[in-house]
Symmetry: D2
Subunit: 286 residues, 4 copies
């Protein structure tokens, strides 16, 4: 039976690893702060002692950390992934990183004899818990086939997108749209209410029409209650919009609406809302 490693047990990673354990996979977990492993171990996971240890003893190791620097450090650090990975074993980085970082990790893993797949996800805490993430896989095609059963447990969709970098690119494209939508949505919600319209009535009308979508429904309700409890941290959204705008720069693609939204998210960070939910962008608009 395929043995699975899982590195990084933040909000997302913990829910994803838990689903793998519950589905009967043989899972070894590791987290920088080991206390976060306890719950998983109670569920039946093994406790790994280091990224090196986990990758050395597992057929496929997943990683889910917070940013490009953390993703690189996981590989290159002492007792890191590169020291453990070896011939034929697989490493699947599900963190959201930029193209350059993803390619750097891919090169490192490949040179160490491993197979690599980038697989950033779309979706936050709830879909992670429900196993309904959208997984954006790209890289080694054979590893994709081997990993598919685990992807099927963590997500509702895991298309193969091509060479390493395309998973990250797809993630940026989707999140850039999400950020732009949240910005125009917040502007509309604020404008409407200042004009004397009822916020709930605006949400009902949107929800009945061509632009109805789960995000407006969910975040709209939060916004009206002034509930900014974090499922997707605002600073991560801003990072993704920024990376998307930078990608546009490389590809000579003007992105005026995304750039405007980016500045609004930056304003929200300046105002101190970096760690609140993405819907907190409303606070600098209203």
């Amino acid at each position: 039976m395929t043995t699975i490693g899982f590195l990084g047990l933040g909000i997302m990673g913990k829910a994803m690893a838990s689903n793998l354990v519950k589905a009967g996979f043989n899972v070894t977990v590791w987290n920088r702060n080991p206390a976060k492993c306890d719950e998983l171990v109670l569920q039946g996971a093994h406790l790994g002692t280091s990224p090196k240890d986990v990758t050395k003893h597992c057929d496929i190791t997943f990683a889910m950390v917070s940013d490009p620097d953390a993703a690189l450090a996981l590989c290159q650090g002492p007792d890191g992934v590169l020291e453990g990975i070896g011939s034929g074993r697989g490493y699947v980085d599900m963190s959201t990183v930029d193209n350059t970082t993803s390619k750097a990790i891919s090169n490192l893993i490949t040179q160490a004899g491993g197979r690599f797949l980038e697989a950033p996800v779309s979706g936050t805490k709830k879909p992670a818990e429900d196993g309904t993430l959208i997984i954006l896989a790209a890289g080694d095609a054979s590893l994709y086939e081997d990993t598919k059963p685990a992807f099927d447990v963590m997500g509702k969709m895991s298309p193969y997108l091509g060479d390493v970098g395309q998973g990250a690119n797809m993630k940026l494209v989707v999140n850039m749209m999400m950020g732009g939508m949240l910005s125009i949505f917040s502007e509309g919600m604020s404008l409407g209410q200042k004009a004397g319209l009822n916020g709930n009535q605006i949400l009902e009308i949107i929800d009945a029409g061509a632009i109805a979508n789960p995000m407006f429904k969910g975040k709209g309700a939060m916004l009206l209650k002034e509930d900014y409890s974090t499922s997707f941290p605002l600073k991560h959204m801003q990072k993704d919009i920024r990376l998307a705008v930078a990608l546009g720069d490389q590809l000579e693609q003007p992105l005026p609406t995304a750039a405007a939204a980016n500045e609004t998210f930056k304003q929200a960070i300046k105002a101190g809302f970096a760690d609140e939910d993405i819907v907190a962008v409303y606070k600098v608009i209203k």
Copy 2:
């Protein structure tokens, strides 16, 4: 039985009036170019000779014309609505007009003894044909009650939003969001494809996630086929975004994302796409 008048048989008006006739209402129609009435008359509508004639003989008259000037002209012109409307009869303007125009028409109708309701709609040709428009009613509450059975035939939802002006405001808010979404969507679709992603795969992934919405699905398919056949003319969308931005100006509501989208739609008009579908904004972005 309530007699119904219908003024203005463009793409939208014709479909809406047709639904009223098919539902068994006693409908009298009028259009500036009378040839457009033929089909309705074949379906069982009466032919009115002028706006005055229609409003004089009908309990409730609907109007659906292309812009604020046309809506005002319909009332004030020779043989216009004001010459026909009288004590207790109702006038329901379903055209998309700005707040100022709507209030002007309301005052004119009210001073002439009529009851007035503004009722702009959200939705284009298909929902008009299917009777699934979202109707945004505001104004005389008693007329709203009387008109509800007809609204139920033309739309799937017709909330009462308060004083005259609030229907127009709600329309602007919804369309501003729609325009902003279309702009960020087009940017994302272009960015993704330039990065080497498959357009259909982008659409599938979006459609599985938190931002899935009928507009992206429908317009996304058009965009990939380079089909810009008009259901919602781009120039009308730009007009709505412009009016929304102007409303923001009045209400001291900054709207940076909407303003950026507005400039992109203006570019599309400059490039000659005013009469194509709103999705033609993609052509100046890609």
Copy 3:
């Protein structure tokens, strides 16, 4: 000798009328609040009793009021300009108004038998006092010739720009550039200082290079001292940018940078800085 009327003695009007008196013109002044006339009368001006009275007894009457509504009211109100103006007499409106208002006033004056010139100015309190305004004249060419000697006292430059509306248009173009420059300047000043650069050193370097201009020098010094005392009210600048963007809309001219600056100025108004100097836009940027 040509007799001169002057209506509206705000910050600008008072300085301009004073220069005319000092230059030896026979000037009759009027202001809504008559107390503001005292100083001018001490300098040698006559006191008019109403706009009607002034325009009736003067060959050329200047007006300098705060906005389009005030400019129209001055003409149409009881004892207004239209009741006094008559065959051959001249009316020169130096207020900043939009194109539509300017044309409306032109029509009213012309229909009443008068000659009309619009002549909005570029420059604030200091240039008004120094007689170094830039006067943007458009309208009746013969009146322009008659008015030139007075323009030469009030301004350093008073080109004739063509038909009525072109003075207003030129003003909007210049002020739109000014607003955009102030916005990018504020962004740069804030960015530089956050990066650890010395504010005065930034100003010195700018002042030595290709973008050196009196506004950056003057407003830059204010900004570093956090001195926002009003010479050009921020709300008037925002109005001009807004009108310029609206003109762009009419003429199918996208103006993305102006639109972005407009939203920043709107934010400054929302933040309560409407009546402070234009440089107060820095406060919402820093």
Copy 4:
């Protein structure tokens, strides 16, 4: 006498090195394509065989290359600067590079025993030829003192700005303002002319007022003649705006006007104007 090296003889470097030779400095030049050295040698410069050779034999070596990659390659390549620089000798990089690159080069030079100064310039071909550049120096204070006589020949101003990175930051701040100004200026020039105003009259009026500046005068004349001959390549301006926006991102400084201008410059690159003068941004605006 201090011996001077000069690496990189593009448009800028050639003019700067030539001024040093003419002022009597003992100058050794090197360029990747050695043919470009001929003219300097005729003027009295020595011909260096490699960056290593030049830095080894000169007290202070200047570099002026086109971008961060070229600047790094000059140091790290075979026969590069690092192989020649040694105890106490000075290296002054006058190329426009980002903060990160500048700090990387500084570390490399310092570790090799050399002293380092970054000194990007503001100004294009003409000021380079006239010795009126604005030189933005930062880094080793003792090297700054030693280099001052050479700076005085190349520029009209060479303030010391502090630690390495501050020269690059100042450059970005100034160029970001320049780019934003050019964007709003182009919008205004196009708007005005579409409104029927005379382009030359707009320029005269601007040149008489508070926003008069050499760039508008120079670029305005070019723009009206549709002369886009390159003195400052558009792609370099876009790079600087982009780096400034990225710096804003790091420092949590929203820059909405700069971001809008950046997208316009990106559009100009997409349209194929990357190598034309910065004023070619007008072509995508008009």
